[in-house]
Amino acid sequence: MFNKKELSWILNLAVPQRRKLLFSCIYAVMSALFTLVPFVIIYHLSIHWLNGILDSSTVWKLVIYALIAVILRFVFLGLSSLLSHIAAYNLLYDIRTHLTNKLGRLPMGFFNQQQAGKLKKIVIDDVEKVEQLIAHHLPDFIVSIITPICVFVYLLTVDWRMALITLLPIPCAVFIQVKRANSGAGEDMEKYHQHLERMNGTMIEYILTMPIIKAFNLTVQSFSSYQNSVEDYTQLWKRLSRKKVPTYVLYTAFIESGLIFILPISLLFFQRGSLTIPEVLLFLMLGVGLTAPMKQLSTFSHTVQNTVLGIKKMNKILMAKELSEARADVSVIPQQYPIVFDKVSFSYGDRMILQDVTMTMKAGTVTALVGPSGAGKSTIAQLIARFWEVEKGGLFIGSISIRDIPQETLMNLISYVFQDVSMMNDTLLANICMGNQAASLEEIIQAAKIAQAHDFISALPNGYDTKIGHGGIHLSGGERQRIAIARAIVRNAPVLILDEATAYADSENESHIQAGISHLLQDKTVVIIAHRLSTITDVDNIIVLDAGRVVAQGTHDVLLQHCSLYQQMWHAYMEVDQWTLAGKA
């Protein structure tokens, strides 16, 4: 099911909890033992009843023993369950921090392949399943195994023949279970989960696309996949339950069918004089329900399967390859900041993104990357920040391979303004401060002023302490972009990457943002990606990319004369710029 490595991490995490778990098990066993006591007492009392020698002091003594046993039973059960829960939740916490730490060390590539929702589900839901197993099922399992064993052993000492008879329901139940397993229960389960997943997927899609559903007036019937998936699911459920009901009913009935075996046989033994009435009574009380806990075994195995599935998903995160850390002996800090790509190739899955890219972004100059969508512009920007690992070739900053620069140092060299501006659910101050934790309030305000963000921040009720995101205020795309620029100004790193930094700005904000950016550019190695070609006509060098290859480079004028792709892009841009939607008036 797992190789050693895939399970060892969880066992290691469980080590601090092992004392709690051990005691939880011991207490569970104790409580199982005490369950037996009242019945033993009844057995002894019944001997007295039949002999007709019953005095109230014996009764009192035995009844008080029984009472103490009941109380102790529940005290131990409570302790066992408390310990198992504490251990389980501690373990869950450790697993979750283990997972989130690991996520922080993985290359960005990992996140593009996995949707955020899926990862969240693993860290929240799948981890929670481990709790079920440890906190509930571990003590329950022990109790439901140990109690029958204790009872059985005790019954053996009373009458071994009858003790064996009490076990008769087990072979019947096992026979039914085996038959069920052979009739393709595993495949059925798989099919059930497929149908369930399909139905859930369709429903989520239905909710997410609600504006379109409404705008196109699609009913549940005409959004056919919704109705189909629901009906298919119900059909399957009915079919499976028709198949399952007889065996399920037989199984649960046989598991509790002790009376059918015990009563006639004990009467036969009684009739032959080899069993006394108190013994008959004892077997009727303890023997009849002996096999009932077996019902729990099937839920237990179900939970184990569920947990195993969860752990497998966690392993997908934990076994993913991390970025290699620079070796301490070779790690160096570059003193100058030209960026050099030397025959770099990169693919994403089996899709080739960059092929044999060689180029230089000179220190202190502005280099623009242009090309049709899918040409690899953003990938280049991300490779510089080592969000992904270069597959072939080398990437150098100041003639040092970025693999030899410690991750932390590399990040300090780079300010990155992203196309989709992410904001933390925190104050504006904290969001700008991310750029440089050591920045003073004056520096932050100064940066906000340069980024043209100070005015709108000051107008907010709590100024720089205003919370944004969930539970806070909502910023427009342009405002977010200005915060991101302020963040980059505070950081003041020698390399600046601008990935479509003005794409989401609306007309009012755009010129503000541009003023902020102009200030940022001074004395830095700048890599800029822009759709509006007019903004980059004056940069030092333009690199034209197409389908992952460098097609041409040079200044705007040179490219306009010699590069046909650039000409084509420029003309498309001009046409777009002149387009108007004509009225009829």
Binding site: S46, N90, F216, L284, F418, Y504, S507, L581, A582
Partner: protein, 575 residues
């Protein structure tokens, strides 16, 4: 308890209960019957010698009851599974149909996670209640009653001792549930916080990595997870002891029964054989009683599910007109419209008129209410004051079928369904032929890229399928609009964030699509709408000014200011 069942039954009244309940009763009677037999057996054991023929007779009796129990258990199960899953299916379809009739405000107000939870997890939970927990609980209650009656019949004095456990234990059970509810609520809050921070962490991982705040350095998440751990432990630590007290109370009653019985025995007011059978049957009673408690605990978790579903079903859908009016033309009128959600006012006293086949542009800073105006035209929301009219008819007097069939809405971010290209375009008009789909695709400039997809028009796109670029998705959504052929076209910043090549193709498609239609367009590049018939400039939810481009640009208002800024931005260069 009653509320519990009501909350769930509310979901669907045509329940399996009627017939299944009968089956369950018969099943339980046949599972109790062997104990009546046992009474006879034990009495004979003490009072007479037992012949082999009697043993055979009793055994046959036992087996007969066992078979009876099996048969009725199967009948009940089959009924429950069939009817239960059928009514859950009806519930799922009803919820889906109900959701789409709700105003968009509902989807804004609630977060999408909550809505999908109502539709998925909560319905699953109700399904579990309907098909498992409720029938089992009913079975246990019936068993409890039958055994209780049997005990009273055998010896009412001892039965009193057994039955007293009910009023003693039930309050403890209820108390534990109350504590559990309170603690679970706290736990749920810290769960929501932790999962919110986790989402923030994963969604912003790029940013956090770029600024090295990953792992334990992202303190919020770590603290939230630790709090979640502590609150989870507290649920157990506070509620479990009471639950164990409840179980212990039941057991102690059994011990008290033992004591009372012995006293009656000593005083010869009770016969041993009666006491023996009483003890055995009382064990059955206590067992059934305990399982009622367990099922009640499980049911309580599900009540929330039922209530959340009820909440969704009780949301009022947009009212359909009693007498439908069919508008004569496709002009659009906003007559003193006020609109807001919650306490937030979005539109204030907006009035304008779009003539049939006219082209009106909405411009203004972000947040000024442009998109809201479009959503009011398709009636995603109802206005608070004033009216929106099409062809001089208030849209609340037009049936939603009629209204929506007149409008094509092209959104800024296009959502595709996880289905084939053909199916995605067919959304515009389900009755269209494949030829018409291809024609629409050609008009929308997407035929050529569709041809290049691995399976052409049968390629699956969307979340589970092949990835399309923003421009390609946009053109597909325009193909939908071509197929729909609606006389009114709403365009919401359709070319924002596209590269020039794609933007060019989208623009060409739109120019064709807009012909001979009433068009309302939102644009932030003023250049693109300078030849609109009429331009409405919005600011902060109100109309700042309106007129033609020439009029506005010669004025001294917001439009002139925006125009100047854009001209300046257009000339901006990186140096």
């Amino acid at each position: 308890m009653q509320r519990t069942i009501q909350a769930i039954l509310h979901v669907d009244r045509s329940l399996w209960i009627n017939k299944a309940l009968l089956y369950i009763c018969v099943e339980m009677i046949s599972s109790v019957a062997p104990y009546v037999l046992l009474y006879w057996v034990i009495y004979s054991l003490f009072h007479a010698s037992i012949g082999l023929e009697w043993i055979v007779f009793w055994t046959i009796g036992l087996i007969a009851f066992f078979i009876l129990q099996l048969v009725f258990s199967m009948l009940a199960q089959r009924r429950v599974q069939n009817e239960g899953s059928q009514s859950i299916q009806r519930l799922r379809l009803r919820l889906g149909e109900h959701l789409r009739k709700l105003p968009m405000g509902f989807f804004k107000k609630k977060n999408q996670g909550d809505i999908s939870q109502a539709l998925l997890t909560n319905v699953d939970e109700v399904e579990l209640v309907m098909t498992h927990i409720l029938p089992q609980m009913i079975g246990s209650i019936v068993l409890c009653l039958l055994n209780g009656l049997l005990l009273v019949w055998i010896d009412w004095r001892l039965a009193l001792v057994v039955l007293i456990s009910v009023p003693l234990a039930v309050p403890l059970l209820l108390w534990s549930q109350k504590v559990m509810r309170k603690r679970s609520k706290i736990r749920h809050e810290s769960f929501a916080t932790a999962s919110g921070h986790l989402q923030e962490y994963i969604e912003n991982i790029q940013l956090l990595k770029a600024y090295q705040v990953t792992g334990a350095k992202f303190k919020r998440l770590d603290q939230a997870l630790a709090r979640f751990r502590d609150d989870s432990i507290r649920v157990e630590a506070f509620a479990s002891p009471i639950l164990y007290l409840y179980a212990a109370t039941i057991e102690i009653c059994f011990i008290v029964l033992l004591l009372a019985g012995n006293y009656l025995l000593i005083e010869s007011r009770l016969e041993v054989s009666i006491f023996v059978i009483f003890l055995i049957i009382s064990l059955q009673f206590f067992k059934a009683f305990r399982s009622v408690g367990t099922y009640m605990g499980q049911l309580r978790f599900m009540v929330h599910a039922g209530e959340r579903i009820k909440d969704v079903l009780e949301e009022m859908p947009l009212a359909e007109p009693e007498q439908q009016i069919i508008p004569l033309n496709n002009s659009i009128t906003f007559d003193h419209v006020h609109f807001g959600y919650g306490n937030k006012s979005i539109l204030k006293d907006v009035s304008f008129y779009v003539p049939d086949r006219g082209l009106v542009a909405l411009v203004g800073p972000s947040g000024s209410g442009k998109s809201t105006i479009l959503s009011l035209i398709v009636r995603f929301w109802d206005v608070n004051q004033g009216s929106v009219q099409i062809g001089n008819t208030d849209i609340t007097d037009i049936s939603s079928n009629e209204l929506l069939s007149r409008i094509s809405y092209v959104f800024q971010d296009v959502q595709l369904f996880n289905d084939t290209v053909t199916e995605n375009i067919l959304m515009g008009n389900r009755d269209a032929s494949f030829e018409q789909v291809v024609e629409a695709a050609q008009l929308a400039q997407c035929h050529s890229f569709i041809e290049k997809l691995p399976h052409g028009y049968d390629t699956v796109v969307g979340t589970g399928g092949i990835h399309l670029s923003g421009g390609e998705k946009q053109r597909l959504s325009i193909a939908r609009a071509f197929l729909k052929e609606a006389p009114i076209l709403l365009l919401d910043e359709v070319t924002a964030s596209l590269d020039s090549e794609n933007e060019k193709l989208v623009q060409r498609a739109i120019s064709k699509l807009a012909q001979k239609k009433t068009v309302v367009v939102i644009a932030h590049r003023l250049k693109t709408i300078q030849s609109a018939d009429h331009i409405i400039v919005l600011s902060d939810g109100g109309i700042e000014e309106q007129g033609t481009h020439q009029m506005l640009v010669n004025g001294q208002g917001l439009y002139q200011h925006l125009w100047q800024e854009q001209q300046a931005a257009g000339g901006w260069k990186v140096k």
